[in-house]
């Protein structure tokens, strides 16, 4: 029995997991049109590499990774590219982003797949392939996986944590995945361990999922894989990477640092599964398990092609009359979807349909009474009441002093707040203001550098021009005195003429030019 630890705080929101966990995963219907956003991960948007009218096959790369922190996107089915334009996407802003729209031909014809031969390929080659296969973390942050699979030049990452905690209420996609496809998950974990040179492999699953635990344990036995399948106590946000690592290892990532600083890397079970599919079948990441739950007729888990419009998926799950909104993610960390025309993306783990009965409006917010309930609940051991105080006063410097950026936005403080303050909204506001200021400052620094270099360039040019003028005068004099048959003089004359022409050209360019008359005149 492994000794477990505790993280600070945490809450026990009602789980509502039984609503969708009983039924097995079903394949979602193939929609007529798929809308594939080019930005489905953290980092730079992928760059479209198909054109409108192109025929694409299932699994074909339609957007290439651009820059380092990026991942490719793929056609989820075969068909024709009918548009590449701005469409509403799943984002709290409700704004649009560049998407590739594919009209499905219904054949679902695969492109030729090449498997990854891990024994023969070196690690960096494998990581590059994973990047091209679009692998990104499916736990919610959608960070490109190939970066996390790089142990770095010096260090090994001795501990690999596979996160099957799934602490957020309502969501059961990881639960079902673990129950039904435990072998693939562990196969993925084994590949990860190889790439990271990890020796200690831990799979953390909250103890409210006994079937998933049993399935994983059976799979580990049958694969003869020395992973430690650990039941962790159910406590929100026990599925946060830092919290799970703390529970399993007792180690806490330093403030502002990453888990790799303490020799631990953490992946979601969904990512491990996708990795196994990528390596063993050459399949890019173009589908995922999505929990559709809440006020729907058939709440359960669906295997959905990325790009499927949310509305179609909700249709399949059965609309109900009392539904009055959709949350992507769970009730603690999810956000409202403004337009269900938005497609399912790599980050979509759950569509939670709201109804007035399930989500009654919050009581009126009241002023902060500084009771400290939020500080007791905060898993990051922050002082949410102080963060709130300073974020509200727009004193962003102070919020950073209180370690705003260690906040994981888990929503525990919101949940316990007796005044029902939207605390996390204030932290998000403060964070995005600080980022915007950072960007503004960088832009200003760039402008300053460019302005300074321009000023110095102008000065240099002026000095050079003066120098040339000074040099030209004696040349002219020389022309008059030295006999023209001297070869040296001829060369000098040619040089002078050339210089003169250049100066004249420059002056002509510098002078205000009249409107170009038509060529005929």
């Amino acid at each position: 029995m492994r000794q477990l630890f505790r993280f600070h705080g945490g809450v026990h929101p009602p789980e509502h997991k039984a609503v969708s966990s009983a039924a097995p995963i079903v394949q979602a219907r193939l929609p007529q049109r798929l809308i594939v956003p080019l930005r489905q991960h953290i980092g730079t948007s992928a760059r479209a590499c198909v054109a409108v009218g192109d025929k694409v096959l299932k699994g074909q790369t339609i957007g290439r990774a651009e820059g380092y922190v990026s991942a490719a996107v793929h056609a989820p089915t075969s068909g024709t590219v009918v548009a590449i334009d701005m469409r509403p996407v799943a984002h709290p802003s409700g704004l649009s982003d560049l998407c590739i729209v594919i009209e499905a031909d219904g054949d679902d014809r695969w492109i030729e797949r090449t498997l990854l031969d891990l024994a023969r390929m070196d690690a960096s080659h494998v990581r590059n392939r994973l990047r091209d296969l679009g692998l990104a973390g499916l736990g919610g942050a959608v960070f490109p996986s190939f970066i996390k699979l790089n142990p770095g030049a010096t260090a090994k990452v001795p501990t690999l944590v596979i996160n099957g905690a799934e602490c957020e209420p309502w969501i059961t996609c990881d639960d079902r995945l673990m129950r039904e496809r435990a072998q693939d998950i562990l196969t993925g974990a084994r590949i990860m361990a190889t790439l990271l040179h990890a020796t200690d492999i831990l799979v953390g699953v909250e103890d409210n999922k006994p079937e998933a635990l049993a399935a994983l344990q059976a799979a580990a036995r049958s694969l003869d894989f020395p992973a430690d399948i650990v039941a962790v106590p159910t406590l929100y946000p026990g599925g946060g990477a830092k919290q799970l690592i703390q529970v399993l290892t007792g180690k806490e990532a330093p403030s502002g640092g990453r888990s790799t600083d303490i020799g631990v890397q953490c992946f979601n079970v969904g990512t491990a599964y996708a990795l196994a599919r990528a390596v063993q079948h050459g399949e890019p990441l173009m589908s995922r398990i999505v929990t559709v739950t809440g006020a729907v007729a058939r709440p359960q888990n669906y295997e959905v092609l990325l790009g499927t419009p949310m509305a179609e998926l909700l249709e399949q799950a059965g609309r109900t009359s009392e539904a009055n909104g959709v949350i992507m993610g769970g009730p603690m960390m999810g956000f409202d979807i403004a337009d269900t025309a938005a497609p399912v993306v790599k980050a979509t783990n759950c569509l939670l349909v709201k109804s007035p009965k399930l989500f009654p409006p919050l009581p009126r917010t009241m002023p902060c009474i500084r009771c400290g309930a939020c500080a007791r609940a905060c898993p990051a051991r922050l002082q949410p009441q102080e963060l709130y105080w300073f974020a509200r006063a727009k004193n962003f410097g102070k919020t950073q002093e209180y370690h705003l950026f260690d906040c994981i936005e888990c929503g525990c403080c919101n949940y316990v707040c007796p005044s029902h303050l939207p605390l996390v909204d204030y932290y998000r506001y403060a964070k995005s203001e600080i980022w915007a200021r950072e960007q503004e400052k960088n832009a200003a620094d760039l402008a300053r550098r460019r302005h300074e270099s321009r000023v110095s360039r102008l000065e240099r040019e002026k000095a050079e021009r003066a120098e040339r003028l000074a040099a030209k005068a004696p040349v002219k004099k020389a022309q008059a005195t030295v006999p023209p048959d001297s070869a040296q003089a001829a060369a000098r004359k040619a040089l002078a003429a050339e210089t003169l022409a250049r100066v004249q050209a420059k002056q002509a360019a510098a002078a205000p030019e009249p409107l170009d008359p038509p060529a005929s005149s």
């Binding site: 002023p367 105080w389 300073f390 509200r392 006063a393 004193n395 102070k398």
Partner: protein, 194 residues
């Protein structure tokens, strides 16, 4: 030894120069908007006050008393203090131009800070020896710095508070200062300076 310690505790807490003697209110309200500025102002004042009370003692004891010119005390003290402030100003301008700019007018105004002239005069009144004078000056300045920093912390926090409109700004600061002063009365009786 105990006596020096008592002077220190007495000047810092019991007879705090701002809260119970009500001296030096100008910088107390002027430079207490930000914690860092308040601390810097406190440090500058500490430097001036400690040096000022030492030199004042020397001038009083070796120049004015033998010559029987005790009536020149305020005049000569202020001259020396002005010089020390000038010196501090140059030093601050050299080492921290931003602080120099932030302290602005309050830096030269240390000269006219009644606390700075008050303490050397109180020293003379209490008939302190040289070491006692130094400690008295230093303690007074530490008390000044402490109160200034505490008050700046409170005011930074007040920025985010829901203060009724008519009380915003200086008025709430005045109320806060009054309450702080009441709180400092709790120290009276801790030490009796004889």
């Amino acid at each position: 030894m105990e006596q020096y310690f008592l002077i220190l505790v007495g000047t810092v807490f019991v007879n705090n120069i701002i809260m119970s003697k009500v001296l030096g209110l100008c910088p107390f309200f002027g430079v207490s908007k930000k914690l860092e500025t308040a601390l810097s102002m406190g440090l500058a004042t500490t430097f001036v006050l400690t040096l000022g009370s030492g030199t004042s003692y020397l001038i009083n004891h070796y120049l004015l008393l033998p010559a029987g010119l005790t009536y020149l005390r305020p005049l000569s003290f202020i001259v020396v203090i002005a010089a020390i402030v000038q010196f501090t100003e140059m030093f601050v301008e050299k080492t921290s131009p931003v602080l120099y700019q932030v302290l602005g007018i309050y830096l030269p105004l240390i000269t006219t800070n009644c606390a700075v002239l008050g303490i050397p005069l109180l020293n003379v009144q209490a008939d302190h020896n040289f070491l006692q004078s130094l400690i008295f000056g230093f303690g007074g300045a530490v008390g000044f710095t402490m109160v200034l920093v505490l008050f700046a912390g409170l005011r930074e926090r007040l920025d985010g508070a829901d203060i009724p409109k008519p009380f915003r700004g200086t008025s709430i600061a005045m109320i806060t200062a009054g309450l702080m002063s009441l709180a400092f009365m709790g120290f009276s009786g801790l030490v009796h300076l004889r």
